[in-house]
Every structure is written in C-alpha cells, then in structure tokens.
C-alpha cells in the first residue's frame, strides 16, 4: 500500500527507509503503550489483569492464523487444537523434565509446529473448503487423542493436567499478575517478528501464494513448501499461545475451551480485526473480548428481568452476539476494523482535502 507521508518527510539512507516507526513521536507512543500495558498488573484490579492477559495470548494465536489465513489464504479450523498441543508440551516438559520456561515455550512452539505440518499436508493436494475440512478433522482428532492415549501423562478421559508454575531467576510465577509479563514479552517478540516477516522473501511469497498460487509458481515460488511453512508458523504461534494459556490457567485439558467453537472464535477475531493486516489480531481480539463482556452483562441483566429463564439467558448471548457481529462484518466490512483504521489515517493525512 502506498504510504501517504506529510510533505518534507524524506528518506536519506536505506536504514531510514527500512524503519518501522519513522517518526520520533511514533517511537515514544509505542514505548508509552508498552510501558502502559506493563503497569496494568501494578494498578489494575484482578479482572482487568486476567482479561488483558487473555487478550495478549489470544492475540498470539490469532497472529498465527493471520499468517496462515490472512497472508497465505489457507483456512484453518484447528487453531484451538494446536493451542491444546502447545499447552500439553509446556505442562509435560516442565512437570517431568523440570525444564525452565525459556526452554518449554520454544519447545511448545517447535513441537506444535511439527503437528501443524502433519495436518497441513492435505494442503498439498486440496484448498479452500477441502482444506477447511482437513483442519476440522484435526480439531476433532487432537482433543480425542489427548483424552484417550497415554492416560497416565495426558490426564485420561477427565483430560486435565496441572501445569507447574514457571520459576525465573528464583521467582515463582504463580499469579496471573506475574504470568502477565511472560505473555507481554512473548507478544512483543512475536509482533516484532510478524511485522518483519511481511518484508522478507518468505512473507512476500506467502502473499503471492494467497493472491494467485499459479502465478506465484510461475514466478519461481514453490507453493507447496510455502504453504507448509505457513502451517508451521501458524501452529508455532498457536503452540506459544497455548503454552501461555496453560501457564495462566495453571492447568490444561480438553474441557478448558480448546474446542471447535474456540477455533471459530479465533477465526472470527481475525476477520473482525482485519485479514492479513498486522493490526488485525489486536483490534479483533480486543473487540471480541469486549463483545463477550457485553454479552455477559446483557445475559445477567436479562436473567434478572426474566428469572424463570435465568439459566438459559446467562450464557446464550455470547454465541448470539459473536455470530451476529461476524456476519455483519463479513457483509458490510469484510476487510475488518484495520481497514477502517487505514481509512481514518489516510483521511487525517489528506486533511483538509479529505471529507
């Protein structure tokens, strides 16, 4: 996309041309945002800390989907199952081998990446709806396996195992307010990596395959290996997110929202935020989490108004609101909130000529 710049903003060196944050005020703003988020556990209440922590690890998972679906154009209905794999890897390596978190999280990323590669294999032969079905199969098979194989390690049919709290430099991270900083660090790292992956050969070949896989092949991009790499990256980020979720909840198991609905929720977050845009995961996850809170408030209000139906009303508004908002976005703004944000920026830069 052509970047609109104010008059007088020139590049004088290649290094300057490659900068992500071009203006000093942008750097200050970014630093302020990160510091502001880092201060939340010191001043916020428990609810705010838990919610922001959940937003952060969900963003990591949605960033993975953004690489696969947004940049490469492959549909995945299995992201939540990959998060489950990551959670199990973090739990098992920490519990049985006593590895520190600096090792378990990267192991979770790599291990989940390999699982993602296996379920990405059908992408070599099929695409579109067929691929969605293959990943749907992953979404059913992985949780089933976790409930039925190696019950002594994976918790058996009750399917829940405890995750030991990580210890970093002698400090035990057993509060959400402490795990918060691990999530923040991971989110900062993945964001920097993903903003940059778009400017590498790999990122450009992702986009080439999405826009036209035949044309990409003619240009010398191997679509098969590119798709598999996209699956690998997406599953890696899902593994990281799953690891963070497991550490935050201090247990992992199929009953803790790793199902098909969670995968659909992640896809919906991506679409509402903006497919293929770096800001998409941030805007989408924040919107959906806000929407869920709204649904909870609506549910409890309705429950107090109609006490006879209270049990039906408390939880039902979440899928209702989510489905409605997802459909409205797809019909009226399929490019998501990030596109609106770009329009807003362009309007601001073009003033006073924009309307």
């Amino acid at each position: 996309m052509a970047v609109l710049r104010p008059a007088g903003d020139f590049d004088r060196s290649y290094a300057q041309d490659m900068l992500l944050l071009r203006q000093p005020w942008q750097r200050w703003a970014m630093a302020l945002i990160v510091v502001g988020v880092a201060l939340i556990p010191l001043f916020g209440n428990a609810y705010l800390i838990t919610t922001v922590n959940r937003i952060m690890y969900s963003i990591v998972a949605v960033q993975g989907l953004n690489v696969l679906t947004g940049m490469t154009g492959q549909i995945s209905l299995g992201q939540a199952a990959f998060m489950l794999v990551g959670g199990y890897i973090v739990a098992l390596t920490a519990q049985h081998w006593g590895l520190p978190i600096f090792v378990t999280l990267p192991l979770a990323a790599l291990g989940t990446g390999v699982v993602g590669l296996i379920f990405g294999l059908p992408s070599l032969r099929v695409k579109g709806f067929y691929l969605a079905m293959a990943t749907l199969a992953a979404q059913f098979i992985i949780p089933w396996l976790s409930r039925h194989i190696y019950p002594e390690y994976l918790g058996g049919s009750s399917g829940r195992i405890a995750v030991p709290s990580p210890v970093i430099f002698g400090v035990t991270f057993n509060q959400v307010a402490q795990v918060f900083y691990i999530s923040l660090a991971v989110l900062v790292i993945t964001t920097i990596l993903l903003v940059n992956i778009r400017r590498t050969k790999l990122g450009r070949s992702f986009i080439a395959v999405r826009d036209n896989d035949l044309a990409a092949e003619v240009l010398g991009v191997n679509p098969f290996s590119v798709k598999l790499r996209a699956f690998f990256v997406a599953a890696m980020l899902a593994g990281l997110a799953g690891g963070l979720k497991a550490i935050s909840q201090r247990s992992v198991g199929t009953e803790l929202a790793y199902g098909l609905n969670e995968s659909i929720l992640l896809l919906g977050m991506l679409v509402i935020g903006g497919l293929g845009h770096n800001l998409g995961p941030f805007l989408g996850v924040a919107t959906i989490v806000f929407l869920e809170d709204l649904a909870n408030v609506t549910g409890s209000t309705m429950a107090s108004l109609f006490p006879a139906h209270a049990t039906n009303l408390l939880t039902s508004f979440r899928p209702l609101f989510f489905g409605l908002v997802l459909m409205l976005f797809l019909i009226f703004e399929p490019r998501g909130l990030a596109h609106r944000w770009e329009i807003l920026k362009a309007t601001w830069r073009m003033r006073p000529f924009s309307r």
Binding site: R125, I141, W144, R318, L326
Partner: protein, 311 residues
C-alpha cells in the same frame, strides 16, 4: 474384531447412516445450487428438532403454547424452517455473492453460532429427553441370524422407522430433482448460473428454493435423529459427520452423499464391534480419519467430478 457382534453393528450402522445421508443431501443441494459450503446445516438440523419439540408442547414448565401431535408439529417446524431458509438466503448469503470461499465459509460459521445462541435462549441449553417419539426404547424387532450374538439381530423400531423415512425422503428428493421442471431448472443453475439466467431461469428464485428445500430436509433429519437420541444443542456437532459423508461421496453427487452417509454410519458402528476399548471409543472421530484419508488419496471423493484446482 468381535465377530459375533459384526452383523448387529452392520445393520445398526446402515440404519444410522440413512439419517446421515439425508442430512448430507441438504449440504450437497446447497452447494450444487449456489456453491455455498453450508457449515450451519448441522445447526439447522438441531433447530428443526427443537422447533418440532416445541410445537409438540413438550416444554417442561407448563408454558406450552402449542400442543400438536408429532406429525403436525413436524409440519409446523418444516414451515418455520422454510421461512428461515428463505430469510437466510435473502439477508445473509445474497449480499455475499461473489465473495471468496473463505468469506462464505465464515459467514455460515457465524450463522451457526447465531443459531446456537438463539436456540439456547429460546429452548434452553439442557438436553431434552422428552421428545414426543412414537416409539419407546424397548420396542425392538428381533431377526434370527445364525452366527450373530445370541443368534439374533436386535433393531430398535425407532431406528428402523427413521431409516425408512430417510430413504423415502431421499428418494422423493432425487425424483423431484430428476423429473420435474423445477428440478431441471435447479440442475441447470448448478451447472452454470449465467447460462441458466440466459435461458430464462430466475437464478435468485432457484437459490431461495434450494434453501427452502434444505431447511425442510434439515428439519426432517432433525426429527429423525431426535426420535433416536433426544434433542440437545450438541446435535449440531454430532451432525457435522455429514460433512465427511459429503466429501467421501463427492461434493457434487447426490448418490455420493447417500453412499457416503451409509459409509460413515457403518464405520461408526463397526468400530463398536472391536475388542479393543480405545477402538470402540473412536466412533466420534472415525469419520474424520476417513475424511483425512480420502482427502489425501482421492480428494474429489468416490463419485465427484474432478473439478478441484490442484495445487
């Protein structure tokens, strides 16, 4: 394998497969007419069952508005489902015409979530066991079969009846598609939208009609499932096995959907005849394992046309 159990499981599997095949037909119909992959079909099935349950006055709290016999309740539910199908086509999928596959899949997933929330508000999230089925679980047919367990095959009457209804409904549907003028118009639309429009078929009306028929089929399938298993929100996920059935048979083939449905039903029942407990427990994922195999070996399905763009 526990061989004496096999004849029993084969019969149960085929009978279960009949309902899956009927539900799969609805998915194929929508795909053929409008190239929409309807992930909300399972939720339409669930909603159809709930609507029938509600029209039959099975509400627990005594607040029932209707108290119809099962056949009338089914008809009322079908009428509601037809209206709903028309509304879905007009307000959700028509604005999406020409959008990429990803957006179409996502909009049906969003619709599925919406229906799930709506159904849970209207009818409650608890499973209902009081579906007004004409059969009790003890009504069974015993067929002597030497070599089977106790030398008899035991078939639940509800299962046999639902298979027969599914078979009749599928046959009626295929006859309609093959031998009526509307069916011919629908086939023409499936082949090519522009040419169909060119020879004077109202393509938008065909889309609406196919959603109305899909709503009908889903409701009938839901009622059949509910007579066997009862009504619950979980039905929508259980019915997702119709998708492996569709892909097994080939996305564009009605005969394939029926064969695929029977294969899925059979495989789910046959694993129950195993001696290994883990294999017996795998009934819920066997269709998906079959799906992965068919996607890798023969992506167009058993009866589908080789139209998939490879890469």
């Amino acid at each position: 394998m526990n061989w004496p159990l096999v004849p029993q499981q084969v019969m149960t599997g085929i009978l279960n497969g009949g309902t899956i095949a009927l539900i799969a037909l609805g998915i194929v119909l929508i795909f053929k007419a409008s190239e929409v992959y309807n992930f909300a079909h399972g939720h339409l099935v669930m909603l159809g069952a709930f609507l029938t349950w509600w029209f039959a006055g099975a509400e627990e709290r005594g607040g029932e508005i209707f108290n119809l016999p099962l056949w009338a309740a089914t008809l009322a539910a079908v009428a509601t489902a037809i209206l709903l199908g028309l509304a879905i086509e007009r307000f959700i999928l028509r604005p999406m015409t020409g959008q990429p596959v990803l957006a179409i899949i996502l909009v049906t997933l969003g619709l599925a979530q919406f229906i799930e929330g709506g159904a849970s508000i209207l009818f409650g999230a608890q499973p209902k066991s009081n579906f007004p089925t004409p059969f009790s679980p003890s009504d069974v047919i015993r067929i002597p079969f030497p070599g089977a367990f106790n030398d008899t095959i035991i078939l639940k009457q509800s299962l046999v009846a639902s298979f027969l209804v599914a078979a009749v409904a599928s046959a009626l549907f295929i006859l309609f598609f093959q031998y009526t003028k509307t069916g011919l118009a629908m086939r023409a639309t499936a082949e090519n939208h522009e040419v169909a429009q060119g020879v004077g078929i109202r393509v938008s009306r065909i889309f609406a009609l196919s959603w109305a028929i899909a709503g009908t089929i889903a409701t009938v399938g839901g009622v059949l499932l509910a007579t066997v298993t009862g009504v619950s929100l979980n039905m929508a996920t259980v019915v997702l096995v119709a998708f492996p059935a569709v892909l097994l048979g080939g996305l564009e083939s009605f005969a394939g959907a029926i064969v695929g449905g029977l294969i899925v039903g059979l495989s789910q029942a046959l694993v129950q005849a195993s001696r290994n407990i883990e294999v017996r427990n795998s009934a819920e994922i066997v269709p998906y394992i079959l799906l992965l195999i068919i996607l890798i070996v023969r992506p167009e399905g058993l009866f589908g046309q080789k139209r998939i763009e490879r890469i």
